[in-house]
């Protein structure tokens, strides 16, 4: 008897199960506290406003330029071939050079700041963190125009120096590589300091005490204990600074000149001035793919390092 009754029950169970499973997957997920349904809004958002535009960009990079800003959908590699031309390669190298110098300067300036915040700031920490975040919260354009006012030919800096008699004729500061790198460092310093600070914060202070205890002085302790344990923050900060620097165009546009033309400016010009959307899309694709593969490669290396360790 039992087996006869059991059979239809079984099949009924199976019928509902596929629908039920899908529903329960949406509602519940593996972790009973989390629901996959929570992911729907973000997924839709990313799909509509990130993945689709990027896909259309990639498609466009293989199309041909039409009159004005129109696009003729015929397949071609020509845009990529053009993007690898040496006259654009110079721009790429310049951009990488600027991004590397900015990252290096941010690291040199940011590490002592993060170190101070984590180890010595004490009660002043909150205030200092807010001061650090202010450039973050200021509109980019406002900040850029402030820099123009400060650095310009008749700007605050030149006028002050002239008034003090340090210089006789105004210095050319604005629209030089110097002013561009200054602007980039100014904008991206918090991106360096925050991950550094958070990784310094994570170091248990007993490690540092143990190092002192075993006879290592302050410098030896820094080199042998603090710095190695802060390395994840150093890498994270460098990536967070380097990547947006590569794509930056506002800083070079406003604080730079013809000699500081960067990839960002090239892309912007192709879309808005030259009206060559397919070529702009190709340059963007090359940039995007090299950054993604660079970061991916770095993470692979890091996880291998971790496994080895």
């Amino acid at each position: 008897m039992r087996t006869i009754i059991a059979a239809p029950e079984d099949s009924a169970l199976k019928e509902t199960s596929s629908v039920e499973r899908a529903l329960s997957w949406l509602v519940r997920g593996k972790d009973p506290r989390a629901s996959h349904a929570m992911l729907i809004p973000a997924t839709l958002w990313l799909l509509c406003f990130l993945l689709l535009p990027v896909a259309s960009l990639l498609a466009m990079s293989l199309a041909t330029r039409g009159p004005y800003s129109s696009v003729i959908w015929t397949f071609t590699w020509a845009n990529f071939a053009r993007a690898l031309d040496h006259k654009y390669l110079v721009i790429v190298l310049r951009t990488v050079g600027y991004a590397l110098s900015t990252t290096g300067l941010c690291l040199i300036l940011g590490f002592p700041m993060a170190y101070f915040l984590s180890f010595y700031a004490g009660k002043r920490r909150e205030t200092l963190m807010i001061l650090l975040m202010i450039p973050f919260w200021t509109s980019c354009l406002v900040a850029i125009y402030s820099w123009i006012i400060i650095l310009g030919r008749a700007g605050l800096l030149n006028n002050t120096l002239l008034w003090l008699g340090v210089i006789k004729t105004p210095l050319l500061i604005l629209n030089t590589p110097f002013s561009v790198i200054l602007g980039l460092v100014y904008f991206y310093l918090p991106f360096m300091i925050l991950p550094l600070f958070s990784s310094l914060e994570k170091i248990p202070r007993t490690y540092i005490e143990a190092s002192y205890d075993l006879g290592a002085g302050t410098i030896e302790t820094f080199v042998k204990v603090t710095l190695p344990l802060a390395l994840p923050g150093v890498f994270a900060g460098c990536i967070l600074t380097f990547v947006p620097c590569i794509g930056d165009f506002l800083t070079a546009e406003f604080l730079g000149g013809p000699k500081t033309y960067l990839i960002g400016n090239l892309v912007q010009n192709q879309f808005l001035m030259a009206q060559d959307w397919p070529f702009g899309a190709a340059v963007t694709s090359v940039l995007l793919l090299s950054l993604i593969s660079g970061v991916y490669l770095y993470q692979r290396l890091e996880s291998q390092e971790l496994e080895r360790a």
Binding site: P204, T206, E209, S211, Y212, G215, G217, K224
Partner: protein, 375 residues
């Protein structure tokens, strides 16, 4: 040379944020001694240890190591190493590099480092672990590596801050005996911090009992247990029945007391404690020093016999815990007796009339108002 002093602490005080943590700690630690700082959490034992290590500066007082004032010296200039509570092994180094850390700082030649690390690993019985990552070690193994790392530099003084606190009971017992034997073998002075009185009794040559920023008593485990000077010590080390007493008479090396305002006893006057007539103080009686009798006293006895009602008799396997009510006046202080006599296993009846027999010398006089410490 045993008996010679290695470390002197003179009148150390320390406060954090307006709260006084140490109220004047003075202490002399002998060479090759195993000294334990014992006390409840917040008593100042760890702060004292950290001051010896150099991690904290005292507000007042001095620390002298081998006669040299080291109060102002940073930790890395003191010939003192620490075994930390949570080991603090460097996660970015393997076992060998962790142990070799201090030797490399001192720039010893690599072959010597090699042989000394191996020696240290053998000492803690973890040969062959050189290339392990610290994340691959169990709690007990990490503890041994931390010990090896601290010992490999052959410090004059080793500080241990509740090093066994995170281990399970069985491992802890094993490590206690091992620590003691390592200490004997190397002849290094150990200062050990714990809140576990049994741990302190097992390993120490002397125990300093801390309470509320002061040392309540300093002495050999046996002295601390058998001759507690304050009610805090009597209660913290082992169990104790602490009773109030009034001095009726003190002469010829004998003291006559009235316990709990009810029972008069005469006992030998132990220790140098000055007692005057009419003074109120406290006495302690260890539970295992109270014999529970089912008949009244024989005619001539020097012992104290207290008639009592048996409130409860708890069977504990190898012993029985018996609760007695010998005093009639409220609130009625209850005495706890512990006995291994088989007799009590049978007699479980509560409410029975029994007698508590106590040798006068087992009634321990305590200092009156010892820092007001005993709650």
């Amino acid at each position: 040379m045993p008996g010679e002093s290695l470390l002197e602490i003179e009148g150390i005080t320390k406060s954090f944020g307006g709260q006084t943590v140490l109220k004047g700690i003075s202490l002399s630690i002998k060479k090759a001694e195993f000294l334990t700082f014992l006390g409840p959490s917040g008593c100042g034992k760890t702060t004292t240890l950290r001051i010896i290590a150099g991690f904290e500066d005292p507000d007042a007082g001095r620390v002298l190591l081998e006669g040299k004032d080291v109060t102002e010296l940073p930790p890395y200039r003191r010939d003192v190493h620490t075994v930390f509570q949570h080991y603090a092994l460097f996660p970015h180094y393997n076992v060998f590099d962790n142990i070799a850390f201090g030797l490399r700082i001192r720039k010893l030649p690599e072959p010597e480092i090699q042989s000394r690390v191996n020696e240290a690993l053998a000492l803690v019985k973890l040969q062959g672990f050189e290339n392990r990552r610290t994340s691959q070690l169990s709690g007990g193994q990490m503890q041994r590596i931390a010990l090896a790392r601290a010992l490999v530099g052959r410090p004059a003084l080793l500080l241990l801050d509740e090093p066994l606190g995170a281990l399970d009971l069985k491992l802890r017992k094993e490590m206690q005996l091992e620590l003691k034997s390592i200490q004997r073998k190397l002849g290094i002075t150990f200062v050990y911090v714990t809140h576990d009185q049994e741990e302190a009794m097992t390993m120490s040559d002397r125990i300093a009992v801390f309470n509320l920023g002061r040392i309540e008593q300093l002495g050999a485990p046996r002295d601390i247990y058998e001759r507690p000077q304050t009610s805090f010590v009597a209660d913290f080390i082992g169990a104790a029945n602490v009773l109030s007493a009034t001095v009726l008479e003190s002469r010829n090396g004998e003291v006559r007391l009235r316990l709990e305002d009810e029972v008069e006893v005469t006992l030998p006057h132990q220790g140098g404690l000055p007692v005057g007539k009419g003074q109120t103080l406290k006495v302690a009686i260890r539970p295992e020093r109270i014999e529970v009798r089912y008949q009244d006293s024989p005619a001539n006895t020097d012992n104290v016999w207290l008639k009592a009602t048996m409130i409860d008799n708890v069977y504990l396997g190898n012993s029985s815990q018996i609760f007695l009510l010998p005093f009639e006046k409220p609130p009625g202080r209850v005495l706890m007796a512990v006995s291994m006599d088989a007799e009590h296993r049978e007699r479980r009846a509560s409410g029975a009339t029994v007698w508590a027999e106590i040798r006068p010398s087992d009634i321990l006089l305590l200092e009156p108002n010892s820092n007001g410490s005993h709650a």
